[in-house]
Amino acid sequence: MPQNTLDDPNTARKRWMGVLARTGLDKLEEAYASLSSAPKHAILRKPETGLIMVQGRANGTGQKFNAGEMTVTRCSVRLPAGSIGHAYVAGRSRRHAELAAIFDALLQDPEHVDALEENLIAPSENALAAQRVLQQRKAAATKVDFFTMVRGEDPK
């Protein structure tokens, strides 16, 4: 696997897969309903829920450690055109995993990629970014500055 993301040919796909996984189910349903023709997809792997171990590295460079398990639902579909879509989505929503897989397959089709990028991926990415900023602001508001809490001298 390439270490440098710039050299990774799958960068574009990673981005939209990430966005699809984080986009709310209602938004995906809406986008699916607004498709001009619903794709007749074949299920390669039915949506199935399982646990994955999330690993981290202290400071991004240290030893690997297990941060904890999370629930993930995955699904794989194939469109009549031949493209295969995969989705790994946090939580237990089977429909979310299925829709994310369908959109992943559609996005690999040059015919659909521009329209979907404009109507689904880009707006959703912006909404997610805005949500993230809001969350960061809320968290920042609760920040405590510990320098004001210097301990006094011990009484003699």
Binding site: N10, A42, E48, I84
Partner: protein, 202 residues
């Protein structure tokens, strides 16, 4: 937009993975406990390449991330088969027969010598290989008389297409009990099992 790696088209596996795998596993238990009895599998899985329905269903049932699988030349030349197994079973594909927990043989005439597969070791005889072989037909060949556990008196088995040396090699394999490989013959939707405990006489 073009992606650097275009994966080949993968076919669907079981429609209902848990229950179908359980059903097939139960049928395999029946076949293993009654060596030589031909069992019919019904499956919703679509077989990749040249694989028969029964071999596909058994592969989907038995293989997982802990079972290295070896493919013979006839199956390995179809990339779709290795891709199918990796996608649905998550099994590693090994190049050396001795490491394999399962071996899939597409053309039984070119079956490698049985010594090339793992027979297990004395502490862990279950670490041996199970070989699944596609045979042109399960009946109609030269009759072999089977005796052993699971067979009240004798049972006849007459698969077509096995290499000449197979039954003499099987006698050696049976003689090494509790070590030894287990064999499964597949053809279309049918299969039968030949565990290491079964004695075969030509």
């Amino acid at each position: 937009m073009s992606l650097a790696y275009q994966p080949p088209s993968i076919l669907p596996g079981f429609n209902d993975p848990v229950h179908e795998a359980q059903t097939v596993f139960r049928q395999l238990l029946e076949a293993m406990s009654h060596p030589g009895v031909i069992v019919d599998i019904e499956t919703t899985a679509e077989s990749p390449g040249e694989m028969s329905e029964s071999m596909t269903a058994l592969a989907l049932t038995l293989f997982d991330a802990d079972t290295p699988v070896w493919l013979d030349a006839a199956l390995a030349e179809r990339a779709s088969i290795a891709d199918y197994l990796r996608f649905h079973c998550g099994c590693p594909i090994t190049q050396s027969p001795i490491e394999a927990a399962f071996a899939l043989v597409g053309s039984v005439e070119c079956l490698p010598r049985l010594e090339r597969f793992s027979m297990g070791d004395v502490q862990y005889p279950e670490r041996s290989a199970t070989i699944l072989m596609e045979t042109p037909q399960l009946t109609g060949g030269d009759a072999i008389v089977l005796t052993g556990p699971g067979i009240a008196t004798t049972r006849e088995l007459d698969p077509v297409g096995l290499p000449d040396w197979f039954w003499s090699a099987w006698a050696v394999n049976h003689g090494a009990f509790p070590l030894g490989i287990d064999a499964i013959f597949t053809c279309g939707a049918e299969f039968c099992a030949l565990p290491r405990s079964t004695r075969a006489e030509v």
